[in-house]
Symmetry: C2
Subunit: 336 residues, 2 copies
């Protein structure tokens, strides 16, 4: 009744914002991404404890927090997920959950994607339901139901795609290519943390209030397929163009919702402009993308990663840089 799972966060090239269904967490578009080697979570779940479920998250700097069960808040989804696992597997025991991040909490890195993916896999493994763990498409559906499409993309190895689907059954993750397919590097430039005034969860529910939401969806038609092909062809320039347009389109929707969600900070804009200059003026293979937060993800090739990393580290607002290579998806590392 005990299992350990690891899972990476990932960075999306074609992103999702807004949902078709807020209960099933069905996104409005197919999205694709690359798993991140340096942003992982390791989660241990043991059923059979007494007194109630407990969930603790620690990070690589020694910070830790207890996750309380507050219904309606994102953290509360972890408890909802435990209930769902118990319901599906017939286990009735309480669980003790400990999750350890390979990177600092609260730095604006998508910890939930790594954490949720490892959490769901470990929970099903600990409950003895290896069928769900081994069926990666089904596992991706279960991870999505825990509240995060981003996490659901970490169900498969390397470069992955979460398919648009109108029902729970039809919305799941597939692999585009394994990690060794393409030696892209994602340098996450971690900025001084700012208070996130609009959580991603709230932001998704506000997306429809932007006058540009439908235009974004119209624009997206065919774009995930182009990004998939760029990944398969290792076509850096095409992926760069698609991704930069996509992330700015998404942020344009965010900042025009009511209330507006401004996730980009002054330093985000500065680094974005630097990246354009490094590419256009210095000829580096480099592009930027932003999730729902201020930290630039600067994508480059393995050959140029060291040069770009040095450029990023020179920036006064960059606290540190996390260097990520394509990584495998979720794994059960210990069981029983």
């Amino acid at each position: 009744m005990k299992a350990t799972a690891t899972a990476p966060a990932n960075i999306a090239f074609i992103k999702y914002w807004g949902r078709k269904d807020h209960k099933l967490f069905l996104p409005l578009t197919t999205t694709n991404s690359m798993n991140l080697s340096a942003c992982t979570a390791e989660t241990v779940i043991e059923f059979g404890v007494s007194g109630g479920d407990t969930i603790t998250i620690t990070d690589n700097t020694g910070n830790s927090k207890e996750i309380n069960n507050v219904p309606g808040e994102k953290d509360g989804m972890l408890y909802t997920t435990l209930d769902r696992v118990r319901q599906r597997t017939g286990v009735s025991d309480y669980a003790q959950v400990t999750s350890k991040l390979s990177f600092p909490m609260g730095a604006g890195i998508a910890s939930s994607a790594a954490g949720m993916a490892a959490f769901v896999a470990a929970a099903y493994a600990a409950a003895g339901d290896m069928d769900t763990v081994n069926d990666r498409e089904e596992l991706s559906r279960e991870i999505r139901l825990s509240g995060s499409v981003s996490a659901a993309r970490s169900s498969h190895d390397g470069f992955t795609e979460h398919l648009y689907g109108e029902t729970h059954e039809k919305a799941y993750t597939v692999q585009i290519a394994p990690a060794e397919h393409w030696d892209l590097v994602d340098l996450v430039a971690v900025l001084s943390p700012e208070e996130k005034k609009i959580s991603s969860a709230l932001g998704h529910s506000l997306a429809d209030s932007s006058p540009f939401m439908q235009a974004r969806l119209d624009y997206l038609n065919g774009k995930p397929e182009l990004a998939r092909q760029a990944i398969l062809d290792k076509d850096f320039a095409s992926l760069a163009l698609l991704s930069e347009i996509d992330t700015i389109n998404m942020h344009a929707v965010m900042m025009t919702s009511r209330p507006p969600a401004f996730y980009l900070s002054p330093a985000s804009i500065d680094i974005m402009k630097n990246v354009i200059s490094w590419r256009e003026d210095q000829g580096l293979n480099v592009f930027y993308t932003f999730d729902a937060g201020p930290n630039p993800h600067v994508i480059t090739t393995a050959a140029e990663a060291e040069s770009v990393r040095k450029l990023l580290e020179k920036h006064s607002e960059v606290q540190f840089v996390l260097e990520n290579h394509p990584a495998d998806g979720v794994r059960i590392t210990s069981h029983g």
Copy 2:
């Protein structure tokens, strides 16, 4: 054959971006604005000189530049305008033009709006066509034809509106209210100048390449009328909401055009977030708006202008603040 005209720049609350007709400079929407007391141009035009047209612009710091006649460039429009004035008035002489700005050139303040309005009025007055000068609607059409809808709004006093029209005849400026109607203050926070990679003129022609352009136009339906009513009612909160949404929508269109036009700088974003905090956390009557450039225009009331000005001047990236009150439009100050 000599005349002097003065005209103010203005700040738009509902802005225009993109054009229905790039030759007639017909905008895609009605827009409205307030004339700016501290951002003016004084232009002297004398017909009857020999050797060719000459145009010189100086500013309040002593900088000056000769405007060369380069067809297709915005400055070249001044020569095109002289030709049009000669054609309409029967004057055949060359003109000597000197224009003096009340504010620094190259600081990202919309010098062309003030300069173009004064230029067109002075040219018609110097050519003896006072009918065109005194018919302010017709004057606004002529100013628009010189290349700037923004300039055309300075044809009338105080708070003005350039009406959407499908033909040259139907697109002209009217007054919403005189300058003394409402003691709004526009504090222009002038930042360190950045090279403007996409000129406004080029930007207008790129607007249609944004996937959000049509959605912006759909959104705008009815908004100029609401902004007009907010001005008439002196309803600060409504004007603030309409204007902030409008400027961010416009910048979302700009940054999603191909190529993207990123006019906002890191400091623009920082001050934008400060302004929101001054309003929401400190209760000040204040909102931001941005033209096609990085300088925040921070709109407030006369009662709070001094407090807001001090807050802006504390910002390390603000070079200086220009304090503007509602102003009259174009005037002929000397004639004959």
